[in-house]
């Protein structure tokens, strides 16, 4: 039996509800994108239902502590096709077993979720570290990113708490939406602008002192290096090459 859902969290949770309504023997959860109908396996299209989803979430909330609820959400944000099925199976497993079952790291879904969540948290942390704002001519601090996972929802709080007295935008170029802070609150935005400018604003769009501070920072980065200790392997391990495009200090002067 294959359950097919739209990839949303609501859909995933609704699927869990439907499972307990019907209790089929074996079931696999897939997104519409991945699903390939075949003649031998039955399938059910999940129709999102807020009330059902809420009931499942409330049930999970009762059974899982804060850390596990966070893991669940992080794993979901990874958007990996296999993890949707793991989250589905994990939920069924939690509801079918006595309290505390989530601590069974010997179970493949428990472990998969814990491990993917760790990866998502790592990328969240990397974004908090590697985002480099550019000060634009209209006073905005802007940065475009394209993270592997959908981490914007996870970094809102960090940036809102920290940069409370400056307006900023963090834009996910891959998923085409961003966060905008207007000194009061953060809203989700989409910008219709040509893609090139979103990646790198033009000189005219930047604040007059932007180049100076970017250069000072590059200088600083160079001067922290101790030649006799050079260790490129370790360097790349900490700052994987795919992130270099974000880093002001990695751009040529």
């Amino acid at each position: 039996m294959i359950y097919v859902f739209d990839g949303s969290l609501e859909g995933l949770l609704t699927a869990v509800f439907e499972y307990f309504e019907r209790k089929p023997k074996t079931v696999l959860l897939q997104t519409e994108k991945v699903f390939q109908p075949d003649a031998f396996t039955e399938s059910l299209k999940i129709v999102n239902n807020r009330a059902k989803a809420d009931r499942v979430w409330n049930g999970l909330q009762k059974r899982l502590d804060k850390q596990w609820r966070r893991r669940f959400y992080c794993a979901y944000l990874s958007e990996l096709p296999e993890i949707f099925n793991s989250l589905f199976q994990f939920s069924n497993y939690i509801f079918n077993h006595p309290a505390g079952a989530e601590k069974n790291f010997g179970n493949e879904h428990v472990l998969a979720i814990a491990q993917i969540a760790t990866k998502v948290e790592r990328e969240k942390h990397r974004m908090e570290a590697f985002i480099r704002f550019q000060h634009t001519a209209d006073g905005m601090f802007y940065c475009g990113i394209d993270p592997d996972f959908n981490v914007l929802p996870l970094i809102v709080k960090h940036f809102k708490d920290r940069y409370a007295d400056q307006q900023w935008i963090i834009y996910d170029l891959k998923r085409r939406y961003g966060l905008f802070y207007d000194l009061l609150s953060v809203t989700e935005i989409t910008i219709e602008l040509n893609a090139k400018n979103l990646k790198q604003p033009t000189v005219q769009q930047l604040n007059g002192t932007e180049e100076m501070y970017a250069n000072l920072w590059k200088d600083y980065f160079k001067s922290t290096n101790i030649e006799s200790r050079k260790n490129t392997k370790l360097h790349v391990q900490h700052v994987p090459k795919r992130y270099w495009k974000y880093l002001t200090e990695k751009q040529l002067s």
Binding site: A114, H125, E128, A164, L216, R229, N231, H238, L247
Partner: protein, 418 residues
């Protein structure tokens, strides 16, 4: 202005880089006044140097002018180098502009000693006060305590800084005497002690009155230079242990000496810095702080030096084979932590998971232990029965054969742990 500032930054960042501490952790300062910045409890490395060290803070000297002549220091009086000094405003502008762009977690401000200790400390204090009081800046500040500065100045600085540090420089008093005759460990101890007492006092008062301000919330740290003088690893780590205990230090840093002069008292120019040794010292430090080891188990009169070819946890296990193999499914958490190839995270997962049934090899591998290393020291549900007991040297041989390249390359540093 920009060219001038660039030049200063180059000189004063370059002179500051030998202080290896760059941690921005331990502060929970909140952005309460709708200003800019806050602490991040575990710290953030915003980038890494090409030698793989974390760059978290803008680490600069206020000036590299100095009246002292410490042989191990680039800023020493007798060294013929370019000198520069920032104004208070310049440091504040740089910090704010770097911080707003998310380049850094904060400022690490140190200084050569110009005129005298109090004069220098007073300047440092002006920078942090301006940041906190005028710029509403709540980001991280690590401030050097200038040896010999007056209690009043140190006390005031502690109200604005997140962390303060003062370096022991050499692991033993005699080493210090040799290279920096004007300095003593006594002076460092006095400052550490004073700040620590204030920390305790402020905490006590805060329990009674909520509005008492924070005092150096991220605690104190210190640094020792390794390999400039002939101390043993035992000397170094016993000193570290003593300072961790006496002054509740958050961190002790070990900095492999990088030759900077032809002074005959120290390794000559061109000598490779002792990076592998530095790495082993950090590993030992971790074992003491997070793995429940007593320093005497790792280093003692019979073993005054750490092994170079294997890490200190493995060395300990091989010297103490009578404790192994342990049964993963029943052993005490503290013993599991001592198994080579098992870290804190995996040890926690193991004790949780085994409540649901005996653990097998594939599960241990999935949990993320380094099984090829650990297997010599553990038993689990499906461990194959083994007829003969291997000797320590044989086990060491197996492990080295498997991880040969990784452990003998000398380019490791503190960031690769077990």
């Amino acid at each position: 202005m920009s060219e001038h500032l660039r030049e200063k930054l180059n000189i004063l960042a370059d002179a500051a880089k030998y202080d290896v501490s760059c941690s921005s952790s331990g502060s929970d300062r909140k952005n309460t006044n709708k200003g800019v910045g806050n602490g991040h409890s575990s710290g953030i490395c915003h980038t890494y140097t090409e030698d793989g060290r974390c760059v978290s803070l803008l680490k600069i000297l206020l000036t590299n002018h100095c009246i002292f002549d410490c042989a191990y220091c680039v800023s020493r009086k007798s060294n013929d180098i370019e000198r520069a000094a920032f104004t208070v405003d310049e440091v504040v502008e740089l910090t704010m502009n770097f911080y707003r762009r998310n380049y850094i977690e904060g400022l690490f401000l140190s200084s050569g000693i110009f005129k005298n200790a109090d004069f220098t400390m007073e300047r440092l204090l002006r920078v942090v006060k301006k940041l906190r009081l005028e710029e509403n800046y709540n980001g991280y500040i690590h401030l050097k305590t200038i040896p010999g500065a007056s209690d009043e100045l140190i006390k005031e600085a502690g109200l604005y800084a997140d962390r303060m540090s003062i370096n022991l420089e050499m692991p033993t008093e005699s080493g210090l005497k040799l290279l920096a005759p004007e300095k003593t460990h006594g002076e460092v101890i006095r400052s550490l002690d004073f700040v620590q007492n204030q920390v305790v006092q402020f905490k006590d008062e805060k329990k009674l009155i909520k509005s008492v301000p924070k005092f150096v919330p991220a605690g104190q740290s210190t640094q020792m230079v390794i390999g400039a003088t002939p101390e043993t690893d035992k000397d170094i780590m016993y000193t570290a242990d003593r300072f961790y205990k006496s002054f509740a230090l958050r961190r002790v840093y070990y900095s492999g000496y990088i030759p900077i002069s032809n002074d005959t008292r120290m390794p000559v120019l061109g000598t490779q810095p002792p990076l592998l040794r530095e790495n082993r010292l950090y590993q030992t430090d971790w074992l003491m702080r997070f793995y429940g080891f007593n320093v005497r188990e790792l280093l003692n009169d019979a073993n005054p030096h750490l092994d170079i070819d294997i890490d200190p946890k493995l060395s300990w296990a091989l010297r103490n084979l009578q404790h192994f193999p342990i049964d993963i499914n029943t052993a005490d958490y503290r013993m599991i932590l001592r198994v080579p190839g098992i870290g804190v995270g995996s040890a926690n997962k193991i004790v949780q998971a085994r409540k649901f049934g005996k653990l097998h090899i594939y599960q241990l591998k999935n949990i993320g232990i380094s099984y090829n290393r650990a297997k010599h020291f553990i038993k689990c549900a499906d461990t194959p029965f083994q007829l003969k007991d291997y000797q320590a040297t044989q086990i060491k041989g197996f492990i080295l054969a498997e991880s040969n390249s990784k452990y003998l390359k000398t380019d490791n540093n503190q960031l690769i742990l077990f």
